[in-house]
Each structure stands twice: as structure tokens, then as C-alpha cells.
């Protein structure tokens, strides 16, 4: 009983993860609904929930409140062929590319240097151009359980032509409007300020899309600065942004964003960021990875042996602004 049809005015030719809301529902159906202790090491979490070929979404990035310890563990475990959602990335994508883990990147924005550029030129990594907002919105679509969402940008650009977007005639106004497909990542890596052992989590401060990323994804690995009592969670339900039933793993990782910052808690280590930059410029990334990733067994060991207590205390002291976060 087709009554009429909606013209598709144009569509992008880019490769994209095809949306499948019913498959995403089946993933959710099979998760445990009970309050079970989900604490595990970063090693166990990455082993269990990140596979070669996984579509991986992290939030925010290695500069600010990003899951840096989990990304290093992915490199340590030599995961391969990952498809990254670089929705507002920093040098995360470079790091994972240097580790040989990446074959595709959906790009919003990311720090780009010779490692990414060479990998793209040599065909080891393929990029698909989106935008920060369009990727955050695609995660929102995934979180809503719908196959696409309309939006009022992306059209009129080469981003459109290189993407999975479509331009249709809006069936309500008759005007052109863009659609973007939902994305439901295989794994979300999200660093949170606090959560309980079940995964009820609090993220403090402005942010990218931690909630949408968690809700859209098949598996959700949280790393957390602090594990708090569920009683505390229940006393202030308004502060919970991610509920336990979407979470698969809780990794206790103080300084888990190092060398990045957690606003209100510690600053980024600019010396380390310069060390990373120099390693890329000078082509000594192997030595960098050996020192910071392969040469240590865990995040805890890295913080103890490579960073040290004095530096940690300094980074905490440098973050002088706590208002609105912890006060």
C-alpha cells in the first residue's frame, strides 16, 4: 500500500558500518540484568571485549578524560584491524596506528602527523571523512536504537560525498534534509570519574559523547579514577550518567588518562606529550612504545616505573581548578 515515495536527492559513496538496530538489540538482550561485580584488570577487559576487526569508539581522547590505559593495553595485546571512531580525537589514532592496530578511521578531527599520513599514503589505513558532530550524532542514533537520524548539515561538502550520508526530500516540509546512519560500535572505551563495581558511572564536566557512546555500543569497558559505593550512587541518582546494565567491565585505573588530564583532578603531562611528538618527528616511535607500552606489564607498572609518584603529585597539584567537579 505504497501511497507515495520520498526522493533521494543525493547520496555519499563512502564505506560505513551499516546500521542494524535489531542486531544491537540482541547484544543488549544477552547482557546480565543483575548487579554483578564487573571489576577486572585492563588486560582481562581488553582480552574479553576487544577483538581483531572491532569497531572501537573512545571518549573523549588521550588529551582529556580519555581511556589511555585501555588504549595502551590494546597495543600491548597486538589487536589488529580496528576501525576507529575518531570523533574528536587527539594523538590516540596516531598511537594506535603506530602500534599497528588500525586499518580504518572514521574521522571527525584528530592530530595528524607523519605516522597517520604515511599509513594513509601507503594504504595501511583507510580514512572516512565525517565531522566531530556527525560522528557524535551517529552514536546518538545508535543509542536511540534507530537506523539513522536527520540533521541539517554535512550536505554541500565533500564530506557528504565520501560518507554514508543521504540527502532526501523531507516528507514533512518538502525541503532537502540530510540523513546519517547510526553507528553501534563493537566496543566503547570510556574513562569516568567515579563508578561502582556494577558500572553505575559518573562523568564530571563538559564532554564529547560519553553517554551516547556507551548506550550505542555492544560492549562497554569503563576505566575509572575511583570506585565508589553503590550506596553513594543511590544517594545522588542525578549524577549517574551511565547505568550499570550497559556496562561489561569496570577497570580501576587511577591516572588512567595519563598523559592526558582529568579536569578537576590532574593536568596533562606536557613533557610526555612533547616526548610523543618528538618520537613521531624523529621516527623513534618504536622506542616510545617499548618504554611506555611493551616494556611494562600494566598501567599500574607504567605509572610506578615510568611516571613516578612525584610527577603524579605534581600533575594533581597543577590542576588548581576543581570547582564544579569535586566541590
Amino acid at each position: 500500500m505504497t501511497t507515495r515515495s520520498i526522493p533521494v536527492l543525493d547520496q555519499g559513496a563512502g564505506e560505513f558500518r551499516p546500521p542494524d538496530p535489531d542486531a544491537a538489540r540482541r547484544w543488549a538482550r544477552d547482557k546480565d540484568r543483575r548487579l554483578v561485580d564487573k571489576r577486572m584488570t585492563e588486560q582481562a577487559a581488553v582480552e574479553r571485549f576487544v577483538a581483531d576487526g572491532s569497531y572501537v569508539s573512545y571518549d573523549t581522547n588521550v588529551w582529556r578524560r580519555g581511556p589511555s590505559s585501555l588504549m595502551r593495553e590494546i597495543i600491548r595485546q597486538h589487536k589488529r584491524d580496528l576501525w576507529l571512531a575518531a570523533k574528536f580525537s587527539a594523538h590516540d589514532a596516531t598511537l594506535l596506528t603506530a602500534g599497528g592496530c588500525v586499518s580504518k578511521i572514521d574521522v571527525g578531527w584528530m592530530e595528524v602527523g607523519r605516522i597517520i599520513t604515511d599509513a594513509v599514503r601507503e594504504g595501511r589505513v583507510k580514512m572516512f571523512e565525517w565531522t566531530n558532530g556527525a560522528l557524535a550524532y551517529r552514536h546518538l542514533a545508535g543509542a536511540l536504537g534507530v537506523p539513522f537520524l536527520p540533521l541539517r548539515y554535512v550536505g554541500g561538502t565533500d564530506v557528504f560525498h565520501n560518507s554514508g550520508a543521504q540527502l532526501i526530500e523531507d516528507p514533512y516540509t518538502g525541503q532537502p534534509v540530510c540523513l546519517v546512519p547510526a553507528v553501534n560500535p563493537d566496543v566503547a572505551l570510556i574513562h569516568v570519574n567515579q563508578c561502582d563495581i556494577y558500572g553505575n558511572a559518573r562523568v564530571f564536566g563538559p564532554g564529547l559523547a560519553p553517554v551516547e557512546t556507551a548506550m550505542a555500543s555492544r560492549h562497554v569497558i569503563l576505566s575509572t579514577e575511583e570506585i565508589i559505593d553503590t550506596d553513594e550512587i543511590r544517594k545522588h541518582p542525578a549524577q549517574t550518567t551511565i547505568p550499570y546494565y550497559v556496562v561489561d567491565a569496570v577497570v580501576h585505573a587511577p591516572f588512567g588518562c595519563y598523559p592526558g588530564s582529568v579536569p578537576g583532578l590532574y593536568r596533562a603531562d606536557l613533557e610526555h606529550l612533547m616526548e610523543f611528538g618528538a618520537a613521531q618527528l624523529q621516527g623513534t616511535m618504536d622506542a616510545y612504545l617499548e618504554k611506555w607500552v611493551y616494556g611494562v606489564a600494566s598501567h599500574t607498572e607504567m605509572m610506578e616505573k615510568r611516571v613516578g609518584l612525584a610527577k603524579m603529585q605534581q600533575l594533581q597539584a597543577d590542576e588548581t581548578h576543581t570547582e564544579g567537579y569535586y566541590t
Binding site: R152, G155, P176, P206, E319
Partner: protein, 284 residues
Amino acid sequence: MSSATSFTDNEAIITYASRLMDENRLYFVAIGGPPLLAVLLAKQLHAPSIAYVVEDGTIAPEMRLPAPAFMIGAGLASSRAVAWTDMNTVDFHASRGYIDDGVLAAVQVDAYGNFNSTFAGGTYDRPERRFGGPGGATEIASLCWRTMLMTRLQRRKFVEKLDFVSSPGYIDGTPGARERAGLPAGTGPYRVITERAMFGFDEETHRMKLLAVAPWSSIDDVLSDMEFRPVVPDDVVPLEPPTERELDVLRTQVDPSGRTIAGDWIVLDGAAQAAKAAPVAGAS
């Protein structure tokens, strides 16, 4: 206000942009870089209550200056906001029409204000130079009522044809081109701000139009650094150089680390500011 005789191209760009800003408009900027600094400068100098929204969901912060060196990693950058939201939320506010002016940096721009943040040279799959990507610029340039672009005036930046259209200007310049691409009605580029020239857009043709030229430059000088020829009206006005006061606040309060304001130096002949500036140091 006394004009300065020595400043970087980036200092000039940030200063010119800041002068366009007022408290009656709401601004949308990315998390760091020249656009944020321009708003902070305006806030310090002539628009103390100016409000801006940041791509990370921060709404109308009142950051205490001097600003931290690594803005993205510092809690201070979001401090004293009226609300902390997230990227989707501020994009929705822009989509609903609440955010007046998007302020953006571009690496390549064409005659209709379309711009490129993706790659230059080669092809998308085999780029000669790959950049960071569209970031939030595409949504900001699509959804805000007006777009202000900040970039250096160089021939490789003001091109006939972009290597990649990351973000939309007036597209092909024809009437309704943005609406036909699904963008909100009544929006588009407003100003392109460089260290030597300021551009607007012709209301009819939507082609870039020269509005002002710095006293040490000239119309011919400007045109020689552009691949395409903008509309050049009769009433091109002088672009007042940064003042000592503007530079002092910019250097001591807005970017004391000097990370973002660093650039090619413009040194003016002390006697006649119209003298040709000589670039003396070379950040690209």
C-alpha cells in the same frame, strides 16, 4: 589607542576577529586555537559579558585569565560556565538557531567561503599533506547564522578549487545553494579575516568581497596572494593595525604561553605604518 609596529600575523588575525565581536551575539568556537582566543580578547577589551559556547558542551564560561597553556586539558577552560553539556547538545542549540556566529580557522578557502580542513595535494586516499579533518567546523559553519573564518592570506590558501570541501560556504554561490544542500535557510559566511585583509561576501553573487586592507599592504598586494579574484568595491577601507593595548592583553592574558599567537612577524616602519611589512621569522 596607539598602533603597534611589531606583531605576528596570527596576532593580527586574532585582533581583527575580536573587534568584530559584541555582547549581542552568541559565539561558537572549537576547544582551542585562534577563534577561542579572539573571543577571549574581545571579552577582555570591549565586550566583558560576551558569551560563547564551546564544542565540548561548555556554555558561557567566564575563564579567569591568564589562560592556561594547554587549554583542552585544563579544568579552568570550562570554569564558571552557566552550563556544562556535551557536543550533541551544543550542536542542537546551533541547529535551533540560538548560536549567532561560528568562528573558525581554515587551511584553504574558495571564492564562496567553502573551506578545507582535510588535505592538500594528491588525492583523498593518497594525500600530500593530510590535516586533522573537518572537526566541528562543518556543523558550526552550517548551523550558526554567520561564519567568520580566520586564516593567513596566501595564494595556496585562497584557491580557485579546494582540494576537499570540508565545510560549506555558499557552495556554488547560486541563490538557495545552501538550502538545496539541506542547510538551514538564511545562513552563511560573513567575514574572512587575514593578517592583511578582511573580506565579506557580495549579497547577490555570494562571492568573496574585499572590505579592508592593512595600511602596510595594498589591494594589488592582496590580490596577488589569491588564486581567485574577489569582488573589489570602490570603498575598501583601511584595516587598523593591532594596538599596543590589544597586543598586551593578547600576549599577557589571552595566550601567555605564546603557543597560538606565534607566527610570521610583521614589523612596520616606525615612521609610516603604510610601509611594506617584512616577515622576519618563519613559522608556516
